[in-house]
Symmetry: C2
Subunit: 397 residues, 2 copies
């Protein structure tokens, strides 16, 4: 990793499901890594009583542990990027100490958004929090980049959910439109299905705006639902694992099904279960982020990748967990429940996703073996699964 050795990467949301594994992954590859988090996710999990499957120490303790095992440093700061004075200290660098050094990062991986659709739909307070956290945080990041290093590459985690389920192919970022004999290229129009997803469409528009006005460089990774828990850098050390939620607020659908199967509950399919989404293994998330950091967008470029590997219906995902159960002699049932969301349950879905493959992504697929391995892993924590987290409690309406 020639260029990686010198490259300083700042990870915002470094304590989260994707943030922490990304921090370890980039550190292992030779990047200088700093991770920042405000511990919102941990707080919200306590607040809603939806604790993760595995107890993992806080980010400071995990960084110390990781360094003691690998001799790789992950620099840590705890704070909130909606506080611009805190973010300025982060960009000035002194907050991380001498080894990180003064001066701004070369790239920022921005995971520091409130990441849950159901959370954003609970009430007015959580809606206002989601808007403020996600949009002011992103606007502050853009202002810090302009103030300290306009060449700094922002890699923002977006979501495939911003597109909704239009009746045409979803292109990778842009759409060429011919209308009444004239042509124009638009950012692909969005139609998100939750307030959280809306804020990700809004932060995309915000970044695209500042790219046009200030010639900054941005990669937006519109990611499908992620599944998985173990990544190579966790080193079979439980305390280095990522935060794994299996509840209806912070858990993604496949992870939720695994926990339901392990706990002996039916898999709760929302409505008809014919909702199609594009899925990705957490290991591929790390690879996609690293590929983006290694191959930055140009100045004045707002680059979009649709970050997923395979599409499945929810029913297909459930069947995979049933089969994994069979392989482990676990009887898994599927149960359709009224859909707490308001979404199309049958729809066209054909999103393009070639950009990251062209950069060199070697995808992991959700094979029977992979699903069985994951269920087997989750079975180790069977006794820890909170029964109150099994059924959805948050309705869209």
């Amino acid at each position: 990793m020639a260029q990686g050795a010198a490259k300083k990467v700042l990870i915002l949301g470094g304590d989260g499901y994707l943030g922490w594994p990304t921090a370890m992954h980039l550190a292992k590859l030779g990047y200088k890594v700093a991770a920042v988090d405000n511990y919102f996710r941990r707080w919200a999990c306590h607040q809603l009583n939806v604790e993760p499957l595995v107890d993992v120490p806080n980010m400071q303790i995990r960084a110390e542990l990781y360094e003691s095992i690998t001799d790789q440093t992950i620099h840590i700061a705890v704070g909130d990027i909606t506080n611009y004075e805190f973010l300025r200290k982060v960009f000035e660098g002194r907050i991380f100490g001498e080894q990180w050094g003064e001066g701004p990062p070369d790239a920022v991986v921005h995971y520091a958004e409130q990441p849950s659709a159901p959370y954003s739909m609970i009430d007015q307070e959580k809606a206002a929090f989601t808007l403020t956290n996600n949009l002011v945080g992103t606007a502050n990041l853009v202002h810090a980049v302009k103030e300290y290093e306009p060449a700094c590459h922002i890699v923002k985690l977006g979501t495939m959910g911003v597109y909704g389920t239009p009746n045409i192919d979803i292109e990778e970022g842009y759409l060429d439109v011919e209308h009444k004999g004239r042509k124009h290229t638009f950012l692909f129009p969005k139609c998100p299905g939750s307030l959280y997803h809306l804020t990700k469409a809004q932060d995309a528009d915000l970044l695209y705006f500042y790219v046009r006005i200030w010639d900054i460089r941005v990669t937006d990774l519109n990611q499908g639902p992620v599944y998985g828990i173990e990544t190579e850098e966790a080193l079979h050390e439980e305390r280095l694992l990522t935060i794994f939620n299996y509840d209806d607020v912070f858990g993604t659908v496949f992870n939720r099904f695994l926990a339901q199967a392990a706990a002996g509950f039916p898999l709760t399919v929302y409505g008809k279960g014919e909702q199609i989404r594009g899925y990705i293994n957490i290991k591929d998330t790390l690879a996609c982020v690293e590929l983006s950091v290694r191959n930055p967008a140009d100045r004045g470029q707002y680059r979009v990748f649709n970050q997923f590997v395979e599409t499945f219906t929810v029913n297909e995902l459930a069947e995979k967990v049933v089969q994994a159960g069979k392989n482990l002699d676990i009887d898994v049932e599927i149960k359709s429940i009224p859909n707490p969301r308001r979404e199309a349950e049958e729809h066209y879905y054909n999103p393009t996703h070639t950009g990251l493959l062209e950069l060199g992504l070697e995808p992991h697929y959700l094979t029977e073996e992979v699903a069985t391995g994951m269920l087997s892993f989750v079975m180790n924590y069977k006794g820890k699964i909170q029964q109150g987290c099994i059924l959805p409690k948050i309705s869209w309406t």
Copy 2:
């Protein structure tokens, strides 16, 4: 006004350039009117030292004065709609006293957004304020409507600036796209030119989202730059006039030109001056808002009108002021200055605007007589024009 007599209309941003004249106009037509404002605009004018042309008393005093002359009541509350508890009190109605009565309004005219593009581009603090004020305010409004009266009609002032200047015709709200042999109708894609305009695209997306999820009813009025100061209900009473800004922060371009001409300064045309926009007389703004209130959107409908009457280039506007000057024996020069904004200075522009005409709008046009009358009016305040407000001080980059 049969239905108007019983109809309760809440005006958010009721102290502003459009809010106050709208309050008087709807009161005169027989609506029950309540106006809410947090006095942000007055505060920001002090902060930036860009005072309006005419000193007008605060909203409470103007409402008392208006009632003493007309016997029409405009109910007043001073507070901030980003504070949800305050907004709940407004929807509960008791805050306005007995005559307004308890219970929510039938319609809300939402002007309570930070309305200045240059203000939003000053620095990080003002960017964060604009995002929070405009988006949390709008989200709170939606939550209050859901909580108290889901049938309440939200009439939100948008801006034509959300569209930018695409190379195709701008339709009224929606765009039918044919792509690879399939079809889909999208909300017309936005490409705004300032952070302020971005927040208006974002609040449009936010309202469209909640229309889909909660079946509320919304009319979005994408308005072009407004010109003018006098409206019928100001009754030739100076203290009932609207707040008229002529500076580069809160003044719209034609109003700015009038003040520059009156003060003996050259009209400052930004760049080439071939930027085309759709303009509207403030009298027509009031008519459009009333037409929208009188003919509400359906439940589950997000209705968009492009609210302007005529398109002009900036150079054409400047020529109108030169001609008005000639009619009043005032010598008016035009001076191109470097464009403080980042925008296309030559572009295609052909927006549709038939919806409000179909509802019955009888437009006022920017004739030589109208322009001359306005310049003559502004000349009365010639001695009050602050010279420091004449040249733009805020750059986009």
